[in-house]
Structures are given as structure tokens and as C-alpha cells.
Subunit: 459 residues, 2 copies
């Protein structure tokens, strides 16, 4: 039987689209997401397992998709492949306000969980711009990060337990709701960040945190990242307020944003080598503003702060955040600009940025990267000031500049976007060979037919 | 050649003890620790790798040991086995105050790291009573927890990267120093909590946190764990102080401690079904005390607090903590009392304790367990009021009472002590079968000769 009729016979109750239907739909961030021959949207875990068995028995590649907001091509598909769309598994099954745990199906969006948790004064403790579409299953599978990771950890640190359908159709079920467990190998970590290559995550137990007080925002100009680190350290050491964000913008990026957003010069303190957007939480907005003002004043001279302003209104705070968040302006100025996502040990940021600026200039004198990101955990986003895609060889040369020495220094060539397709070559060139060997052996052990999202992450 | 001469030939520079020497030494917490035929103390990673290769080639069992403070028999050895003592790898290689990361060799004790970090105003964020002997490698291998886990996570959440010698002698090297990495399968998690069955952890990159302010202590009597949870939630929601500890003591345990410690009745608020030892950090001890007093007063009626006292001196705070920490008194009253270490979703604590009290009474009308532990993460320690060891069948019946339904409820039969030998049967009886299958397959994949700590964890 042909693929579509067989699928419909095996999964009579699931929603199934063929290639023509897929071609008529929005594929999400990556146009390759809908290259498959079919999409199946199971309604429950049993149907996911049936679909996995169907594909395993026939050697058909199966690619799990959540909100299709991934940035590394992890959900890209091609002809002959089948998509397992988790959108039908969209129930928040339980929010336990005492244990502060949520049990959610994989297709629940982050935004939906945030809303439901807020009704109990709780929050998933992780946030990212794609919250309206990104699903919990997808965020687990890419080990998503975001601006609160320095405090709350990445998705890996938020997951207490998970359930996944293995390539042979069996259910790996570890819906632990507690933080402390030392009861044998903690195998859920294999599925976190595996981008669907070892199985399909179907349910997740997540930590929730109490929502606390109000948050104030400041924009601070500093001479370099080291100064910014001093500020972060100062606020981390204080117990009278809670640092909620510390985003850093190097001048080239900040200038582009200021121009794009038409900010009048002088309206905000924008003239410094680095800008720092700080968030500080306290029991009231007044207390938070006062703690920010007091804290900055106390270290102003010592740290060498160039300029700074605590937002006096919601509107002013939003204007500060737009400087950091309207990154779509890069795309507007340089369509398909080569973009990267690295982690650098936070103490080495200035040296790293100086090194890559020099290295990129050697490749092309016109290169001046836009650099910004999460200061407190050293996660930098880097985009080049040129249209993309650049030729393969050039892309590789750029990657070599950005990734060289990064592993030895304890950083990462992929901080929070995953490997997917985009970083497959970087993975082969820059990840530890023993680790890659072991990963490949585990992939072959768990998915001997190479059915689950083949060609991604481990190849 | 016989074992000892061969070892000495292969590792001419390592310290090597034979069985007679071992018999004359202190084996640590578990008398079985020194049952092996030889102990080798390598001086560096290369010697660990040489020892691993030596044992792998000859099919000799190798058991890694750190501080020998484990409570689950994970380091027990028997004739014919060789111990890899990590005590020679005791260097703190780096503390980076900006990135807030320590790179330590596996044999460094927690206490030594705490001291070194304190010189930079930093702390490993994890603490336990055996800090003077327990090593970082051992704590990684058992995924140690302690009283700060509810805030800072367990060892698993503190490890940024690690290096381990694999059974084939290769070095798995992932000394990542950053929190955010999504660069392929995060295989370091296989070695965390594996109790040396998949390889020997030799170096670790750990997060450090800034030391913040001062901490005040209160002892609060409450009708039940649910009330205690309300108190915890109240302080977690406040941003003006930082909850640093929330330990719960059920009456039977608290009474034993009070008698053993000869506390005069009336000196502390001790007459309540449950006692809560609270720690609250703020910028000064006065601020912390005042926040504790204010916070408790604000919810006193609502929560139904029976009695409470904020310690007005260091001495009074220490007296409160002794009630929780002098657990050696159980051992004194009931030598070798059967003891357990479970995680229960924090919202279900009262029901769980009621259920096990009733279940144990059914087994033996004299059974009245001592129950205490880490309230905020639901980790309970339970000891029976009888001498041990009890006959095997009885032990199993007790475990069935304690562990029944725990997995389904999202708890764990081993919260922070590991599986080792003690919980091997519980693992077989109470862990998810698909998870056990997968764990066994991974053990066979990585250690096909079953050389690394055989018989532990996965069998």
C-alpha cells in the first residue's frame, strides 16, 4: 500500500496531511519543516506509539515537530519522511501548587503553561520570545535557555521527569515530580536536547517557581564586559533584591538597534562600549527601583560605569528592552545574515569578542559582527553584517573563527539553539571525538534502524 | 604474575596496598569498603587510565572510592577486586571568580572546596554533614543532595562539566564551564549518579554561587506538613529575604532528639506534631531575624502555627539545628536501625507519612518510625525504632510499605544516597522496567566486560 493510505489505515483517528496539504500550510520558522511526504497529528500517547511502530517496521524516517520555532533546522524534513506533529497532545494535565510541579503534554505551548501556572501564582521559570508557539516538548528536545537561565537553569534543569516513546514503540516513563532522586542512571537526560533523535517526548514534569514581587529595569553603559560582570556579581550577592535579567549589548549591535528604533540621541544612556540591561526583582516596584539605584550608586566609581538610568515608568523599561529584543532588525538590515549562538565562560567575554572581531576582519575587512546576549551565563548571539547565506567555505571559515578554542576554554559552539542540521558540521569539527563516538554508539543502541530524525545532531 | 606484583609493575609510582594493609586501615562508613585484594591510589588521570586498562584487559573488577562516606554500599568491595582510590587526585585546579566556576580533581573534599571558594566570596551551593571526607567525585557519582537542594539543586545541577576515564581507558572529556550548552547529547549525565559503574570521574567543573549576607534560624511548631509547606511558599515568594533551609521533624523523631540532647522542656517550642527548622538569609543578621519574625507573624493564624521562636543568638540557632542534625542518636538508641531515604512530592507528605505509619504498624505493632528531612523538596529520611539488620524478608516487607506507589506518585525510593548494594533489590522491584532495560543496555554498551563496580546499581 502507498504511504498515505497505509498511515490512514494504521491511525484512523489521527489528523493526516499529505505533501500537497503540507505545501499549502505555514511551515514555521524554517521552510524545510514541511518537506515531508506526510504529517500525522496523534491525539494521544498511544497514537504516537502506533505511529512510531508503523515507521520503525517500515524503516520510514519520523521527525517530531512542536511549534516549529527551532533555529537550527532540527525539524527540517524531506521527501519520504513522516512528521509526528505533537500539536494534538496539548493538555496541561496537572498543576500541583503545593509541590510546585506541572505535568504537561509535549504539545503545550510555553505561553499556555505560563498562563495556567500564573493562576496559582507560579511560573515555569523559563521564558523566550517564541513563547506563543514554542512547545514544551520542543523546548525539552532542544534544551531551551532564555534570559532567566543564569538563575533558573535551562530546560534541562527545569525538567523533573519525562515520558518518551522509544523507537521500538515502548514507553520510557519517568514522570518523577521530585528534584531529588538518585535511583540509578538518570536516563531522562538522554532525551533532553536530543532533538527527537532517540525517541519522541510525550509528557513532561516541570518545576514551577512562585512568582515574586515586581521587577525594575535599568540601562547601564560600561566600558567592557568585565565591568558588567562586576555589576552582576554585586547584585547576585545582595539578598534584598533578586537579579532577574542581565543582558549585554556591544556597541555595534546597540547602534543598529538605536537607529532602527529611531531612538532620539540623549533619550537613553546609549553612548558606551557596552550596554547592560538589568532587571531586579523586589517586593514592590518602588523597592526594586530603589535597590537598583542604590546598588548602582554604590559601585559606580569602582566599576567605572559610564552612564546609567533606572527606568521610571513601564514605558521607559519597555524601550530599554526593545533595544535588546528587536533582533529582527538585523534580519531586516541583512537578510539571512549568518548567525551564531555560543557560550563563553563569562570571565573571558572581552577577550573572546576582541579575538573574533579581529579574526572576522581578517576574513573580510568589512565584517563587524553584532554581538549581544545573556551576560550572566556567557551566552552570546552573534550575527554578521552581511547578507546570507554565504558560500559554504566562507561559512566554515567564519565558524572556525568563532568556535576555535571554545571547547578548550569550557564554552560551547551551540548554547541554546541545538545542533539540528545547521551545526552538524560544527559538531563534527568542534565537539570532543570521544563524546561523539559515545553519542553515536548510544544512537545506534536506542535507534538501530535510524528512524528517529535521521541526519540530525549525531548524523 | 600474581595481582600485586603485576599492579606494582604496571603502576610503579602509585601507592598500592594489599589485602593485609587494607585490613589494618579504617574502611570508612561501610566495613565492606576494604574487602578488596588491593587498593591503588593513582597520582593523576593518566595513572587512573592505566589502572582501568590494566583491570579491563584482565577482567578484574575495579571499584572507585572517594571519601568512603556513602550510605548505600556503593563502594563495598570483595576479594579479587581492586579499589581505585581517588585520594591522590586532590588538587583544586582553578577557581574563576568572574565565571564563578571551580575546576577540581575528583578526590578534593567538599570541605576543601568550600574553604577555597570562600576566599573568593563564593560557595559550591551544596552542603552535607560528611563535608570533611566526602569527595567531589563521590558526590558526583552518587548525585548528592543535602539541605540546599530545594534552592540550588543536587550535585547533578551543580556540575557544568566533567572528565571520566571510560572502561576502555579512553578519556571522556567535557570540561564545559558554562551553564548553557545544547551541542548534542549531554552525556556527562550518564556518569552523574552512576556510582562508578560506567567509568571513573576524574575532574569536575562546578558552579559556584556568591555567598550572600547572613542567615537567621527559627524553630516553628505546626500541625502538619501542609502547614509547613504554606510557610515555605510564603518565604519563597518574598524577594526581601532568601529561604536557605526548611527542615521538617515529625514528633517521634523530635522527641527522641529532645531526650537525647537533654533539652529542658520549655526551652524551645517543641510540643507540636511537626517541627520546622527554617533558615532565612538577608543582608544582615538583624534583617534576617526581622524578616523571619515578620513573615511568621503575617501568616501565623492563617497557617495555624502552634508555636515558634526566632533564634536570638548563634547558640540558640545551633541548638535548633542540633535537633535536626544529631541523627547519630537514632543509631545510639537502635544500632543498625533499618533506614531509608525517599523523595515524596511535597504536597503529598502528610498522606504518605500517615500511610507508612499505618502500614508499618500492621507489620509490627511496635514500629513507630522516625521521620525527618528536607521539606521543600520532599526528601524524607526514615529510620525504624528497632535494632538492625532485620531478616531479609522483613526488610523487603518494610520496603514494600515505604516504596509502594511512590513511583506512580512521582517520588523516588532513593532520593540522595544512591542505589549501591543496599537498594539493588528495591531497584529491581520498584524502578520502571523500561528504564531498567535501557540502563542495562547502556551499561553493556559502555562496560561490556562488566569491570566497573560490578553488581552495583544496574547489577
Amino acid at each position: 500500500m502507498a504511504l498515505l493510505p497505509s498511515l490512514r489505515a494504521a491511525l484512523p483517528n489521527a489528523t493526516i496531511w499529505d505533501a500537497a496539504e503540507l505545501a499549502s500550510r505555514d511551515p514555521g520558522f524554517d521552510t524545510r519543516n514541511f518537506g515531508a511526504s506526510a504529517l500525522v497529528r496523534p491525539r494521544d500517547v498511544e497514537e504516537v506509539a502506533a505511529l512510531v511502530k508503523f515507521c520503525s517496521e517500515r524503516g520510514i524516517s519520523l521527525v517530531a515537530q512542536g511549534g516549529r520555532t527551532g533555529l537550527a533546522g532540527g525539524a527540517a524534513t524531506s521527501q519520504g519522511q513522516v512528521i509526528c506533529d505533537l500539536g494534538g497532545l496539548n493538555r496541561i494535565e496537572d498543576i500541583d501548587p503545593f509541590t510546585r510541579v506541572a505535568i504537561v503534554q509535549a504539545g503545550v505551548t510555553l505561553g499556555a503553561l505560563q498562563e495556567a501556572a500564573a493562576q496559582h501564582g507560579l511560573d515555569p521559570g523559563i521564558d523566550l520570545a517564541a513563547r506563543g508557539s514554542a512547545t514544551i516538548g520542543g523546548m525539552v528536545s532542544t534544551n531551551a535557555g532564555g534570559i532567566m537561565a543564569f538563575r533558573n537553569g535551562t530546560m534541562r534543569h527545569r525538567v523533573l521527569g519525562l515520558e518518551a516513546v522509544l523507537p521500538d514503540g515502548r514507553l520510557f516513563c519517568d514522570l518523577t515530580r521530585v528534584l531529588k532522586t538518585s535511583a540509578g542512571y538518570d536516563l531522562k537526560h538522554l532525551f533532553i536536547g536530543a532533538e527527537g533523535t532517540l525517541g519522541i517526548v510525550t509528557r513532561v514534569a516541570l518545576r514551577l517557581d512562585p512568582v515574586a514581587g515586581a521587577s525594575a529595569t535599568a540601562l547601564v553603559g560600561v566600558p567592557n564586559a568585565a565591568s558588567a560582570q562586576h555589576i552582576v556579581r554585586h547584585f547576585l550577592t545582595s539578598t534584598s533584591a533578586r537579579l532577574t535579567a542581565a543582558e549585554i549589548l556591544w556597541r555595534n549591535f546597540a547602534s543598529l538597534m538605536q537607529r532602527s528604533l529611531n531612538y532620539a540621541s540623549g533619550s537613553l544612556p546609549l553612548d558606551a562600549p557596552c550596554l547592560l540591561v538589568l532587571g531586579l526583582g523586589a517586593d514592590s516596584i518602588e523597592a526594586a527601583r530603589s535597590a537598583l539605584e542604590g546598588g548602582l550608586a554604590a559601585i559606580w566609581e569602582e566599576v567605572g560605569i559610564v552612564d546609567g538610568l533606572v527606568a521610571s515608568s513601564e514605558g521607559q523599561a519597555a524601550a530599554m528592552w526593545r533595544l535588546r529584543e528587536e533582533t529582527v532588525e538585523i534580519e531586516r538590515a541583512h537578510p539571512m545574515a549568518p548567525s551564531f549562538d555560543v557560550s563563553v565562560p563569562a570571565g573571558a567575554l572581552d577577550a573572546y569578542v576582541a579575538r573574533i572581531e579581529a579574526g572576522l576582519k581578517k576574513l573580510d575587512a568589512s565584517y563587524a559582527p553584532y554581538v549581544y546576549g545573556h551576560l550572566a551565563d556567557g551566552n552570546l548571539h552573534i550575527s554578521l553584517n552581511c547578507e546570507g547565506p554565504v558560500p559554504h567555505e566562507r561559512h566554515e571559515a567564519i565558524e572556525d573563527v568563532l568556535y576555535e578554542g571554545l571547547r578548550e576554554a569550557g564554552g560551547s559552539f551551540s548554547a541554546e539553539h541545538g545542533v539540528g542540521l545547521e551545526k552538524r558540521e560544527a559538531y563534527e569539527r568542534h565537539a570532543d571525538p570521544v563524546k561523539r563516538d559515545l553519542a553515536k554508539a548510544i544512537k545506534e543502541l536506542i535507534d538501530p534502524g535510524n528512524v528517529m530524525n535521521p541526519g540530525k545532531v549525531v548524523g
